[in-house]
Subunit: 340 residues, 2 copies
């Protein structure tokens, strides 16, 4: 399958044509210093004439590097794949990576077979590092990558005891300040639509919600909590349930902007006015969702920062040969808009 065309010129042929040694050609294509300008030009011409393209397998083998990093999306995250949050993260990672000269490779891991295949791919040296998105609590993939000593950075911890390098947002603090704000406004029956509770981030946001209630001397009620999976549809369902159980709800903290948008729809369908009757605050902040529901208040996660930080940690680990794990927790910011 797919053998390369035999006629492909090699570095050696380029060297012959340019009348120099292979080492010199190698230096030129790698922009290494220490080559006379005239030689460099001669080599460049030979490259053009032969339409030479370096063989990356050979380069990897000799140079022990792949010049590529993988961004892995595992099955449970699949639905978020279609969410703006996800595409924004990918965009920001692409930006952050763009001047490193490394290829960003997005890989989907949906079955155990695919998980295995990816592991072989990564351990086989096809990538220099791995970025993982919002891994579930029980996922062992990060451990296996760490064992193989592959530089690995998670977006979001799996638990409070996460050791593998990660970048996370201050979920507890963000949720707490959002709910405190609602209470400060005089809202009294504040509910929350959580994310999937097998994600640590969702647990943290729930904890922040509860802390804010406690701080205000209120008691959290189980029936004021409903779970979603970050989609608008699940937000709609969760909100409908909550209204059913507590017709007097006047404030909501939602798992994401998308969920919040769903919640808004459910509220309107139920005849509630927003924000007069009910105030809604979502989590995350990204252009697309804002475009759709511009009046939504949010706990903003700095997405550009997340991408930059993940790439920075990854590069650091690659640089030093994975001797230490690094953790970064980015602050969130409460952004209030009309609807609150």
């Amino acid at each position: 399958m797919g053998r390369r065309r035999p006629g492909t010129p090699t570095l050696e042929e380029v060297a012959a044509r340019a009348g120099v040694g292979r080492g010199t050609v190698s230096r030129v294509i790698n922009n290494a210093a220490g080559v006379k300008e005239s030689t460099r030009r001669a080599v460049r011409r030979a490259i053009e004439e032969l339409e030479y393209v370096p063989n990356l397998a050979a380069r990897s083998l000799a140079g022990r590097r792949a010049d590529a990093v993988a961004l892995v999306v595992t099955e449970p995250d699949w639905r978020s794949f279609a969410e703006p949050f996800f595409s924004e993260i990918v965009r920001s990672l692409g930006d952050a990576l763009s001047d490193t000269g490394m290829q960003l490779l997005l890989t989907l891991v949906r079955s155990d077979a695919e998980r295995q295949r990816f592991l072989e791919y990564a351990r086989g040296g096809r990538v220099d590092g791995v970025l993982l998105l919002s891994v579930r609590a029980g996922d062992r993939l990060p451990d296996m990558l760490a064992e193989a000593r592959l530089p690995t950075v998670l977006l979001g911890r799996r638990s409070g005891e996460e050791y593998v390098s990660y970048v996370d947002a201050d979920n507890i603090g963000g949720a707490r300040s959002a709910v405190s704000q609602l209470l400060r406004q005089g809202r009294r029956v504040v509910a929350t639509i959580t994310g999937p509770l097998d994600m640590y981030a969702a647990q943290c946001r729930l904890r922040g919600y509860q802390e804010a209630l406690t701080l205000a001397g209120l008691e959290g009620e189980q029936t004021l909590v409903a779970e979603s999976d970050f989609t608008a549809e699940s937000g709609r369902r969760a909100m409908a349930e909550l209204i059913e159980r507590h017709p007097d709800i006047d404030g909501v903290l939602a798992a994401s902007d998308t969920t919040a948008a769903g919640a808004l729809e459910a509220l309107r369908a139920a005849g509630r006015r927003v924000p007069e009757d009910v105030a809604v605050i979502g989590f995350d902040d990204f252009p697309l969702a804002q475009r759709t529901t511009p009046r939504l208040s949010t706990v903003r996660q700095p997405i550009e920062e997340i991408g930059r930080a993940m790439v920075r940690l990854l590069l650091e680990e690659m640089e030093e040969g994975a001797v230490a794990w690094r953790h970064v927790i980015l602050r969130t910011e409460l952004v209030l808009r009309e609807s609150t």
Copy 2:
């Protein structure tokens, strides 16, 4: 950066430990025939004990294959990245590829620099083939890949004269039958919300729309056509425009289910009842959009088939060494639901 751990065992060490030659180990890890069962077992044990993992760069170099294919998303498609259609396509491609043992690598190409980097990556032999999504009319990437004799398959033609291998849906026929159906129902003022008109697929659908009108002895009006970019938001805008221009609209063919959903919202906002006052038919068919707007009629594109066909064409090209281009046009199906 990212040098591999020095301690990594090689095939040679495995051979030594198992007391066999390197060739034998190679045969075992590649499941080649012609190895005595007892030898095979011995080699397997050595592999386990040493935790041996094959170096894929070396394998690529010697074997002239990458065992990976790239799925490229170019900038203008970026927004569709967040659309369910896109994730469904990726899912179906993943399924179709899953038993070939090849890695699916999703790559984003947003700038010319990234385009160049990807080209080097692909021509450098890191992938055995390339799948491209809905390429714009003027995009030269397919030509460059073809020139490099890389097996390449497009989803959607760039124009009627496309030569590079592609899988496409019968857009003209699908649009025509949808509009004919509307007219047959007695709808008289049928508008269309097109996709981006620099995409051949969008042009075809517009043509099908016009053909149906002509067939019915009607004359197409410029003002009954509005352009969208496949997003719900643009559908909303386009529909609002159309109603403004033609308050008597009673039928709409939309560029996609997502666009149709946006159109529905705009219609309802304008006080129109659907389908009593206005019937809407979208293009595409995928679970997520159907979940959101279950009552929408659609011109169904067989997504599973698309993935399968693309992978089949790619494998065929890889097999024979890219000596011919192949074209497949899949039929569409009109699926009527309540709202029509």
